[in-house]
């Protein structure tokens, strides 16, 4: 294989007609270039969309109550009910493989009135009563102070974590928020931390939230045992989509809802949405592969064609070599190696050009700043290795017919062509 003479011969053959080789190589080069660029573009789109999901735990569902639509056990239809704090423990006991269950309560909301006051400044913000686990489901970076902990929950401390946006509204520039008080619907809370969310999902709104301990929230705002809604995350091994029916059933049973009442418990399955996007990218990738390989195929046919011509041109030489005692297999190997070498080299040039283009797009994106739904297009090492394997195989295929026709040349016939 790594035989100096053989390689010299390969180089010799491919350089005797340089332009022909270059044009043939271009076909393969172009094919692999298209493949790489398409895959990178798909990846860029994927990165862009996934960016919007941020690092939210995607294996998550949200669940809330609505009014019943069927009467059950003597209770009328149209009855409204609330989740209770005991439901969390009940879910833990009855449904396995749940990682986080966060009951939540909320004040304010879109278009709400001003509900937070500090000195002479006021603002309208979403205020959540939460357990410490929520930071795993709705990730945020704590920029100062700390997040909620279980002592806050247990002692019902009136403390709050405020978003960067809230701080900008209620505080002077450079003012330290920690240890100060804000008044939420007339109740004073001490600010113990500030956070910043880095996903674009919440956008401006995401920075304007206030988190207080669930228990203090319930007491301060008269929620008693009620739970507004829940965020439930499954363990990594299992999917929330499969667990959600069981979760909803447990809730129905506890709140005397008719088992066939599909509307009483509302939920949103983030994982399902995420999967839908995932499969879209799968399809996109498949399309990129199909288009790329189709284009590559025409390049491969070009190589095969040229190799046939090369064999034809060298008929006499092959005849001489066989008369001198070269084994048919050795001739076949020679043609195959020429074909693979040509394909591989031109493919690598294609990969290099593709990478340069991707690099160019990346630096362009860096200089103009983030673009909607598109971010850092790239191809992985795996894809490049895959492309090389595809090239290797296609070079082999391209050389196969010419090699076969080369050993079908009988030396006597080859020598007769004058």
């Amino acid at each position: 294989m790594f035989n100096k003479d053989r390689w010299r011969e390969i180089i010799e053959v491919l350089t005797t007609n340089v332009w022909r080789t270059v044009f043939t190589a271009f076909g393969v080069c172009w094919g692999i270039f298209i493949l790489i660029v398409l895959l990178a573009a798909g990846k860029g789109l994927e990165n862009g969309i996934k960016q919007d999901f941020g690092n939210i735990a995607t294996n998550t569902m949200f669940m809330w109550t609505r009014s019943t639509t069927k009467g059950y056990q003597g209770l009328p239809k149209g009855r409204s009910f609330e989740f209770k704090i005991d439901d969390v423990a009940a879910l833990r006991d009855n449904v396995p493989n749940l990682r986080f269950i966060s009951p939540r309560n909320q004040l304010g909301g879109f278009g709400g009135n001003n509900n937070v006051v500090r000195g002479i400044r006021t603002g309208a913000y979403n205020v959540y009563g939460d357990y410490p686990e929520i930071i795993n489901q709705d990730p945020m970076a704590v920029t100062a102070g700390r997040f909620l902990n279980y002592n806050d929950i247990k002692e019902k401390r009136k403390v709050a974590i405020i978003g960067q946006g809230v701080k900008n509204d209620l505080y002077d520039k450079g003012e330290d928020a920690l240890g100060t008080y804000i008044k939420i619907q007339g109740v004073n809370f001490m600010v113990i931390g500030t956070y910043k969310k880095n996903n674009s999902g919440g956008g401006e709104e995401g920075q304007k939230e206030i988190f207080v301990p669930f228990t203090s929230f319930s007491q301060a705002f008269n929620r008693g045992e009620d739970v507004g809604w829940m965020a439930i995350t499954a363990n990594d091994g299992s999917s929330i989509s499969q667990l959600k029916d069981k979760i909803v059933d447990v809730m129905k049973k506890r709140h005397k809802v008719h088992p066939e009442d599909t509307r009483a418990v509302g939920y949103f399955d983030l994982y399902e949405q995420y999967n839908r996007v995932e499969s879209l990218f799968g399809a996109l990738k498949a399309v990129a592969y199909i288009v790329g390989i189709m284009v590559l195929l025409s390049g491969i046919i070009g190589v095969s064609n040229i190799m046939l011509i090369v064999v034809k041109e060298r008929t006499k030489e092959i005849g001489i070599r066989r008369a001198l005692g070269e084994q048919p297999w050795s001739i076949k190997k020679q043609i195959l190696m020429e074909s693979i070498f040509l394909t591989l080299i031109s493919g690598m040039v294609g990969i290099i050009f593709g990478s340069l283009v991707i690099f160019g797009i990346n630096s362009l994106l860096d200089s103009v700043g983030p673009v909607d739904m598109f971010m850092s297009p790239s191809v992985s090492v795996g894809v490049v290795t895959g492309a090389l394997v595809i090239l290797m195989v296609s070079g082999l295929l391209a050389g196969f017919i010419p090699a076969q026709s080369a050993i079908r040349v009988r030396p006597i016939e080859a020598l007769r062509t004058e």
Partner: protein, 233 residues
């Protein structure tokens, strides 16, 4: 060295077949220099091709150095050609992108002789044909006579049992023809068995034995007094 018994060969030309060799019996001892003569169409090239294992016989037996040659696979035939035979062609058939030395080394390459040894041997044989200074030249930079001498060096490089020459002087003027024949005679003097196909009387008489072929049979087989080519050079 070579023994042929009742050799028949015919070619199919469409519906009718052309009977080219019609029962050849022929024996060559070691160290002989035999000319095979005949007009075109007499079957001399076909005979040489069969002797060279480039073509298969239809009927009869062919034994080369005690080895029966029959129904060989391409791989086996290539092996035997490499081991037993050296070819010299009318049109030289050098590989034009390889230097003289590389051309000579080619049969050794197929024998998987190591590179260094190959080069040494190639130079040795080029020296024997008087072309050592041209070792690095491409065939296109050599004259016809020189090319044929490179081809002869190549044929000898693998140290074959028999050299087969198909009209070795056919493409050369008479002066270079004699030079080439002189070389062939000298190689024969060293004890090599050589078969020369030719249709030129003077070339044939430079061999030690002339076999006349006509219409696929041997009409005459005689020993002759060898004319040394050296006197014309």
């Amino acid at each position: 060295m070579i023994e042929i018994k009742d050799l028949h060969k015919s070619y199919k030309m469409g519906s009718n077949s052309l009977h080219v060799l019609k029962g050849i019996n022929f024996k060559v001892e070691e160290g002989e220099l035999v000319a095979i003569m005949g007009s075109s169409g007499s079957g001399k090239s076909t005979l040489l091709n069969i002797l060279g294992m480039l073509d298969e016989l239809d009927q009869g037996t062919y034994t080369l150095d005690g080895v029966p040659i029959k129904n060989l696979s391409e791989t086996k035939a290539a092996q035997y050609r490499n081991k037993f035979l050296g070819f010299i062609f009318q049109s030289f058939n050098l590989i034009n992108y390889k230097s003289a030395a590389e051309n000579v080394a080619l049969p050794l390459y197929y024998q998987k002789v190591p590179r260094k040894e190959r080069q040494e041997k190639a130079l040795k044989y080029l020296e024997r044909v008087g072309l050592k200074p041209w070792a690095d030249h491409l065939p296109s930079e050599l004259s016809g006579g020189q090319k044929q001498r490179v081809a002869i060096a190549r044929a000898m490089a693998a140290e074959p049992k028999v050299l087969l020459a198909d009209e070795p002087t056919g493409a050369l003027d008479s002066k270079t023809s004699y030079e080439v024949m002189d070389l062939i005679q000298k190689i024969n003097d060293d004890g090599n068995t050589i078969l020369v196909v030719t249709h030129e009387e003077d070339i044939a008489h430079m061999c030690k034995r002339i076999v006349h072929l006509k219409d696929g049979i041997i009409v005459e087989d005689k020993k002759v007094e060898q004319v040394r080519a050296a006197q014309y050079v």
